[in-house]
């Protein structure tokens, strides 16, 4: 346990780890849903501090990574238009589309701007009434209320030159898709803490009951993750499958009711395609009828787009926890943060990026990838 001194409270970390080691009698595979948790786990080597039988399977909770290629290509097309100011979170700049990315659109003269808050995009729209301002609204339940507020405000204030390119996804349908996959190995979930800050966790007991899996709401800091794992191991060893909240300091059971009310007004649930994974029923949101006029896909005619995904990239399997990043033959050779084949290699929450940043020196060398080798991702659900 050579890393213990890196913890904020090494004595607490040691107690949590001792308890996990003392409790674990069987091998278990648990999935951390959120890419932020994956990043923290790999960075701090938490998986290497656990008993040998405990496997952490990295989940699909990287919104940048699962935004469908078709939507990325639409974003790139809209962003390149001379009448458009395209606003985005910084994480999207280098996510590969079929041919380019937002960074290259900007380099070629497109007016792409990074904003800290979606409300900043609305301010840009107010300040540029003669231009169309589009915000790229991606993210899970945590980010959906902020993005929803922009459209609510645009309608309220009559800001007609603003629109939202929506690609929102929801966690519970993804859990269902993972658990119904024929190749599923997941026996428990560490649920994403900040998603539950918004939504609470009332959606999870039916999933825990149906699939007989413990679901433990878990935070992002190393000690939070160890506590989530500790509680999960206790449930698994005792044969329980309950929803527990290991992150009560920012997660209330009911979530944030004001934010949920806004979501229900501005969005409606739809089927969504997840990049590398495929369509998951009821797994996303689009603008509701009342706000449809602010949908960038309606405002700009970007209907038919031919997409072309890398034939080598196995990010879909990485996102479903079917392989670890270094098991892809392109990892660290054909695919690096400088030349990413998939979004998981550029996002700060992508598992491939985390392994590349923190693990590549420890991993066995990759054999060079065969360009064009058929590597189909197995769809879940």
């Amino acid at each position: 346990m050579k890393y213990l001194d890196e913890f904020q409270d090494p004595a607490l970390a040691e107690r949590l780890l001792d308890d996990i080691h003392a409790t674990t009698e069987h091998p278990w595979a648990m999935m951390e849903v959120c890419g932020g948790q994956t990043h923290s786990i790999i960075r701090h080597g938490l998986d290497q501090l656990l008993p040998d039988g405990i496997e952490l399977i990295h989940g699909p909770g990287c919104p940048v990574c699962v935004t469908p290629l078709e939507v990325i290509d639409k974003a790139l097309e809209i962003a390149a238009r001379p009448d458009v100011i395209f606003c985005s979170f910084g994480d999207m700049l280098r996510v590969p589309g079929s041919e380019k990315d937002l960074f290259r659109v900007k380099s070629a003269g497109g007016d792409v701007r990074v904003v800290y808050s979606p409300m900043d995009a609305l301010t840009v729209a107010k300040e540029n009434p003669d231009r169309q301002v589009v915000f790229f609204g991606i993210g899970f339940e945590t980010t959906a209320p902020p993005n929803a507020m922009t459209v609510y405000q645009a309608k309220k204030l009559g800001i007609e030159n603003f629109s939202l390119l929506v690609s929102h996804v929801r966690v519970p349908p993804a859990i269902e898709a993972i658990m119904t996959s024929p190749v599923c190995r997941v026996q428990a979930f560490l649920a994403a803490g900040h998603v539950c800050t918004v939504m609470g966790f009332s959606e999870y007991p039916p999933l825990a009951e149906r699939f007989k899996v413990p679901i433990v709401v878990t935070g992002f800091e190393p000690l939070d993750i160890l506590e989530g794992i500790r509680r999960t191991v206790h449930q698994l060893e005792e044969g329980r499958y309950e929803v527990e909240n290991a992150y009560p300091r920012v997660v209330a059971p009911e979530g944030n009711p004001i934010a949920i009310e806004m979501l229900e007004d501005v969005f409606e649930v739809v089927d969504r395609s997840w990049r590398g994974i495929g369509m998951i029923p009821q797994s996303g949101w689009r603008l509701s009828e009342r706000y449809r006029a602010y949908d960038a896909e309606v405002r700009f005619d970007v209907g038919d787009i031919d997409t072309s995904e890398s034939a080598v990239c196995r990010s879909g399997e990485v996102l479903q926890g079917l392989i670890k990043p270094h098991e892809c033959s392109a990892f660290g050779t054909l695919c690096t943060p400088r030349n990413p084949l998939g979004a998981t290699m550029v996002s700060s929450e992508g598992a491939c990026a985390a392994y590349y940043l923190y693990r590549r020196m420890q991993l066995p060398a990759q054999r060079p990838a065969q360009a064009g080798a058929p590597e189909e991702a197995t769809p879940v659900g």
Partner: protein, 102 residues
């Protein structure tokens, strides 16, 4: 992306009928929308995601988390220079300097 960073409310005002606040994240200050935590007061701590307060937080937890995020470089990832980082990662010149706005 789903990371929410703790900070302290230092000022509150209303803009276009929406409660807004200035939040201090261990030295970095940002304007933040308070519409989802409308009864929060100056001096209280909140966790903030992409410019929106999502929940109250006690002071001790907030300060602990801020310190961890600072050590992990998360504050820079949240508030730092996205174009500069993307340019470095891509090995290409920054595209945002000629036009000014970023």
């Amino acid at each position: 992306m789903c990371l929410a960073v703790p900070g302290q409310i230092t000022r509150i005002w209303e803009a276009d009928g929406t409660p807004m606040g200035q939040v201090n994240f261990g030295g970095v200050t940002k304007d933040v929308c308070l519409a989802y935590v409308p009864d929060i007061q100056v001096g209280e701590y909140t966790i903030v995601h992409v410019g929106f307060a999502l929940q109250r937080l006690d002071e001790e937890s907030a300060l602990d988390t801020l310190e961890i995020f600072r050590q992990m470089g998360e504050l820079d990832a949240e508030f730092g220079d996205h174009w500069g980082r993307a340019a470095e990662q891509a090995g290409m010149p920054r595209p945002d300097q000629a036009g000014g706005a970023s």
